[in-house]
């Protein structure tokens, strides 16, 4: 790790001010992505602005058909929240299969979403649930937010404050874990709303999290695994690595989507 200056603001405003002062700065959330890269000297920010003391970035609130989760909420808090379990149980279940207990008790939703790792779990939930990413400057629809691997709509120094999830009628997440890292090799989040179905796939795409409109339309007609027959994920848009090549990933998208639909449909 290279030397850096450490700052601990207590409001988003202060954090943004600090961010604007330094050229080579990073926000620090759970640190589970940032710190390992710093330790391996792959990243060397000169200033770290720790978001850990900012109360407004915390907390889970349900109001009407929206569940709003603070950016600094840890995965374990999402997994165990009664509000989340009641409103969107699939989201709590997703949080429960992120990494291991250490990771879940440090890593944050905001950090995960800001990072947009192509095999992270939350991006699939955000996209399928049509979430709104709320920042200290604006509100960004999930469809506009995720812009390819490790790339988002966030501007320099922009802070995610909350993420607002519309509450679906039925939803489920089916994750096929990378055996080594336990990130998603393929993860599919399916959400059914009064006005249609959305689904999103993480882990598989060579350009990060993505939706499959053809599947969504078929599921809107018939919310059952059989509706997906004949619809395949495009192999040439799949990621390929030592764990899974494009053909296998494309195949797993089909399997995991069916399993997610099955699980969502059986939810009352």
């Amino acid at each position: 790790m290279y030397a850096f200056d450490y700052h601990r603001p207590t409001s988003a405003r202060q954090a943004a001010d600090l961010a604007s002062q330094f050229e080579d700065m990073k926000f620090l959330a759970g640190g589970h992505t940032l710190l390992p890269t710093m330790k391996m000297r792959l990243a060397g920010p000169t200033n770290l602005v720790d978001l850990g003391q900012i109360a407004e970035l915390r907390g889970i609130e349900r109001s009407g058909d929206t569940l709003s989760i603070g950016a600094m909420t840890k995965h374990a808090e999402v997994a165990h929240s009664a509000d989340v379990r009641q409103a969107i149980p699939a989201l709590a279940e997703l949080a429960e299969v992120i990494g291991d207990p250490h990771v879940r008790n440090r890593g944050t939703m905001g950090g995960s979403v800001a990072n947009n790792d192509p095999s992270a779990d939350y991006p699939a939930a955000c996209l399928a649930l049509n979430a709104t990413i709320v920042t200290d400057r604006r509100e960004i629809a999930a469809d506009d937010f995720f812009q390819g691997i490790f790339t988002t709509a966030l501007d320099e120094g922009e802070i995610i404050t909350r993420i607002a999830f519309p509450v679906p009628s039925q939803a489920a997440y089916a994750k096929f874990r990378n055996p080594a890292s336990r990130y998603a090799l393929v993860g599919v989040f399916v959400a059914r709303f009064a006005d249609g179905v959305r689904m999103a796939v993480t882990g598989a795409g060579s350009n990060g999290v993505f939706r499959m409109p053809e599947m969504e339309q078929a599921l809107a007609q018939n919310f059952a695994p059989e509706a997906l027959n004949g619809i395949a994920a495009p192999e040439d848009e799949m990621n390929s690595d030592i764990h899974a090549d494009a053909a296998y990933r494309a195949h797993l998208v089909g399997v995991m989507t069916r399993r997610a639909v099955q699980a969502a449909a059986s939810r009352s």
Binding site: F176, P179, A180, L252, V255
Partner: protein, 787 residues
């Protein structure tokens, strides 16, 4: 059996400190004035070094010194050695290239040591290392085991075709004749995947030099500190043997990777004198992936000949073994003498012929890893036996039974003389525990749920406690393979045992104390086991190859016998009886036929106060030592049965049942033995399903972290059913065979045999990842589409 004697499931004494965080590992030691070493490693798999400019690095804040291979050479520090000479078929000695501790002119794998920075802090050492300018001429690399001998890339000038040796074992003509009269020949091609050892504690070294006494001290993560001292002094030449103290304190797992003498400890001892400061190096996980000696990495073609009754007539095997970029300490012995002599398995095979080509590649050195050669051999034999049985449409259990060796001793065609065993007994017990009878019903039940169920056997044998020294010397070993022990009885009757074995997870502090408690009839808490310090223990060969029970404890038993003999002399004087009338029983020395006796502790006190005998008749004190050299290997064997269920939609394999029935001879502590079996199976399952080191074509290690290299986790494993059968080993005084590696040896073929059974075809490589299994399941479903 007493509560703490041989056979008792005594809780591990050492766990008190381990589970309360009080263990002391090398990195826990800090010496006054300590500086830190950081090794600049090659980012290239193969490159000539045109120049190294350390000027800027030397002036970086906190930098004390920067050294390169030239500095070691100037001080006449020798290269690292390979301690086992292998001769090729044509009688020529193996062709081994130099192995400098810091590169000289060339780097040969990613992670190879280019230079070392010694600095006040580790961060400063890393900063300074970034300022070293190395001008590389990057060369093409060869990484693939099967390609190495054909490659135009040459790793070492002295080794044409990258070939270190073309070795063979067995009778070629007899084997050809057996195949000529065979009714059936089964052929198989196998890859034994490369593994990264990954002990939980990474390697570390702390070197120190005392200018007042000219003494060197090395704290190091070693399985065999005396061997480290011998190699560092006699061969590498960093310090004279009598001036070098090597301490291997608590060591957090080794699995073979800490047997070897590496560049880092060599440099730390040497540099401590150069910079006049203690020098510490602790590997990080990335360095461990890159530069710990890896394991396995064989490519094999094997054939088995059978007659019309399904009796095995012969076995022929050709293996190419990847040795990596340099020959690590025992690397040459692993794919040769630790491999081919096990190819008879548990079977009566009249003729065996095995050829092994050892090749260099631009990859990390490969050496012994849990099982070392024996897992590779077992994989060949057990895959081939299973495949043969299937081709002959015979029940794989009965096919094995028909071919088992039943008469002992049994001389195999490949060196080994098996002393004892009852293979059918293990098979019967395993079939029973595994509920083999109802397997078909379980398979049908799985099929109803759309799942594929399969069952695989592994009827393994291993050879532990490699010995006797005379024999291994004749096969090329550079050392003897005996063990030493010293039993020191204190005046109060408590006992310290100094052993040349080293515990790094095995529980010696408990099992060795059980032996002493049992033999001397004293409470186990009156016994301490001392190991891992060359200033305390005179000499020892260390712990690997499941030798510490069979060899190390036998040395202790021998020393205990001498203590008892001396105690009888002392007791005879005190009790005024003749020595011949003194019996030692249940911890008391008594006069036969009388009620006069002394407790062991009373005799110890008498030995030290020496009031009851004259110094002319008997030396005071009670301390005895022994060196024990076995007369043979030991041959643990057993049957493991693995039952899997495969989800054909995803390729995920779930191990539903695991039955292990092992014959380890006499068991000292069944709880510890079960633990060893569990751990070994976990490692074997890791190899079969999860683990595999992957280099890309340019020689970059793709699996250089746990993100990509998959270690087994608890939920990858079932709850094991472990059973035992016992045939005591006749070649050592305790009847022990050894248990440390059995699981890792037995498991891989059991898993793959189960998967191939479930899929209904044989073509699946390790690790059998979900992707690989899915693809194989596709092929099995659509034989027409397979190509």
């Amino acid at each position: 059996m007493t509560a703490t004697g041989i056979g008792a499931p005594v809780r591990r004494k050492e766990d008190q400190r381990f589970v309360t965080g009080q263990g002391r590992y090398v990195d826990d030691f800090n010496r006054p004035g300590q500086a830190y070493a950081y090794f600049l490693r090659s980012p290239h798999a193969h490159a000539a070094i045109r120049s190294i400019d350390v000027g800027a690095a030397q002036t970086m804040p906190g930098a004390l010194a920067v050294f390169t291979g030239d500095d070691l050479a100037a001080d006449k520090i020798g290269g690292l050695i390979c301690g086992w000479m292998i001769h090729s078929k044509d009688g020529t000695p193996m062709k081994a290239g130099p192995h400098p501790a810091l590169a000289q002119g060339k780097v040969r794998y990613v992670g190879d040591h280019v230079a070392v920075v010694i600095a006040e802090t580790l961060a400063q050492a890393k900063d300074a290392a970034e300022a070293i300018v190395v001008d590389y001429d990057v060369l093409p690399a060869v990484v693939d085991t099967a390609e190495a001998a054909k490659s135009s890339v040459q790793v070492h000038d002295v080794s044409p075709d990258n070939t270190v040796f073309n070795w063979h074992l067995g009778d070629k003509d007899a084997t050809e004749a057996a195949f000529a009269k065979a009714k059936h020949v089964t052929k198989i091609d196998l890859v034994n995947n490369r593994l990264v050892p990954n002990p939980i504690e990474p390697r570390a070294a702390l070197g120190e030099y005392d200018f007042g006494t000219d003494n060197y001290t090395l704290y190091t993560t070693s399985q065999n500190p005396h061997v480290a001292r011998l190699v560092l002094s006699a061969f590498i030449g960093v310090a004279p043997e009598h001036k070098l103290r090597v301490i291997a304190p608590d060591v957090g797992g080794g699995f073979g990777s800490k047997i070897f003498i590496y560049a880092e400890e060599t440099v730390c001892v040497w540099a401590a004198k150069k910079v006049k400061r203690p020098v510490k190096w602790t590997s990080d996980r990335t360095e461990a992936f890159l530069a710990d000696a890896h394991g396995r990495d064989h490519v094999t073609h094997a054939e088995m000949a059978t007659d019309e009754n399904g009796k095995i007539l012969g076995l022929r095997v050709h293996t190419t073994a990847n040795l990596g970029a340099y020959l690590s300490t025992f690397s040459s012995s692993v794919p040769t003498y630790l491999y081919a002599p096990l190819l008879s398995g548990q079977y009566d095979i009249p003729a065996i012929y095995c050829e092994v080509d050892g090749v260099y590649t631009n990859t990390a050195p490969v050496d012994a890893y849990r099982g070392a050669g024996r897992p590779e051999a077992t994989f060949v034999v057990e895959r081939l036996v299973e495949k043969t049985a299937r081709e002959l449409k015979q029940d794989p259990a009965e096919f094995r039974r028909k071919n088992y060796i039943t008469q002992f001793p049994h001389q195999t065609p490949v060196i080994m003389a098996y002393d004892t065993g009852d293979y059918a007994a293990s098979l019967d017990k395993a079939l029973e525990l595994a509920d083999y009878r109802n397997f078909q019903a379980r398979k049908q039940e799985s099929a109803r749920r759309g799942k594929l169920r399969g069952l695989g056997f592994s009827s393994y044998i291993e050879a532990c406690g490699i010995a006797p020294s005379q024999a291994v010397g004749s096969l090329g070993a550079g050392v003897g393979l005996w063990e030493s022990a010293e039993v020191r009885v204190n005046p109060t009757g408590s006992v310290e045992v100094l052993t040349g074995s080293h515990s790094h997870g095995q529980g010696h502090e408990t099992t060795f104390a059980q032996l002493v408690s049992d033999r001397l009839g004293i409470p186990i808490d009156q016994v301490s086991i001392v190991h891992g310090d060359t200033d305390k223990v005179q000499f020892g060969m260390g712990t690997y190859g499941s030798r510490s029970g069979a060899v190390g404890m036998s040395a202790i038993a021998k020393a205990i016998d001498k203590v008892i003999a001396k105690g009888r002399k002392v007791a005879a004087h005190v009790l005024e009886a003749s020595e011949g009338d003194i019996e030692f029983k249940d911890g008391r020395f008594g006069v036969a036929g009388t009620d006069r006796s002394l407790a062991f502790g009373e005799v110890a006190l008498q030995a030290y106060i020496a009031h009851k005998f004259s110094g002319q008749d008997l030396e005071p004190g009670l301390k005895e030592g022994a060196f024990y050299d076995p007369t043979n290997f030991t041959f643990p064997a057993g049957v493991h049965i693995c039952e899997v269920e495969i989800d054909p939609d995803t390729g995920v394999t779930t191990i539903e049942r695991w039955t292990a029935v092992d014959d380890f001879g006499v068991i000292i502590n069944p709880m510890i033995v079960e633990g060893q079996v569990h751990g070994g199976i976990a490692q074997g399952v890791g190899q079969a399903l999860l683990e595999g080191a992957v280099y890309d074509r340019s020689g970059q290690l793709v699996t250089a972290s746990f993100n990509d290299y998959c270690m087994p986790r608890a939920n990858d494993l079932p709850s094991f059913q472990v059973g035992m059968t016992v045939t005591p080993c006749p070649s050592n005084p305790l009847g022990i065979k050894g248990c440390g590696e059995a699981g890792a040896i037995a498991a891989p073929p059991a898993v793959i045999n189960a998967i191939t059974d479930a899929l209904g075809h044989e073509d699946i490589a390790m690790p059998a990842t979900p992707q690989a299994v899915w693809r194989a399941a596709q092929k099995a479903r659509m034989p027409m589409a397979a190509e």
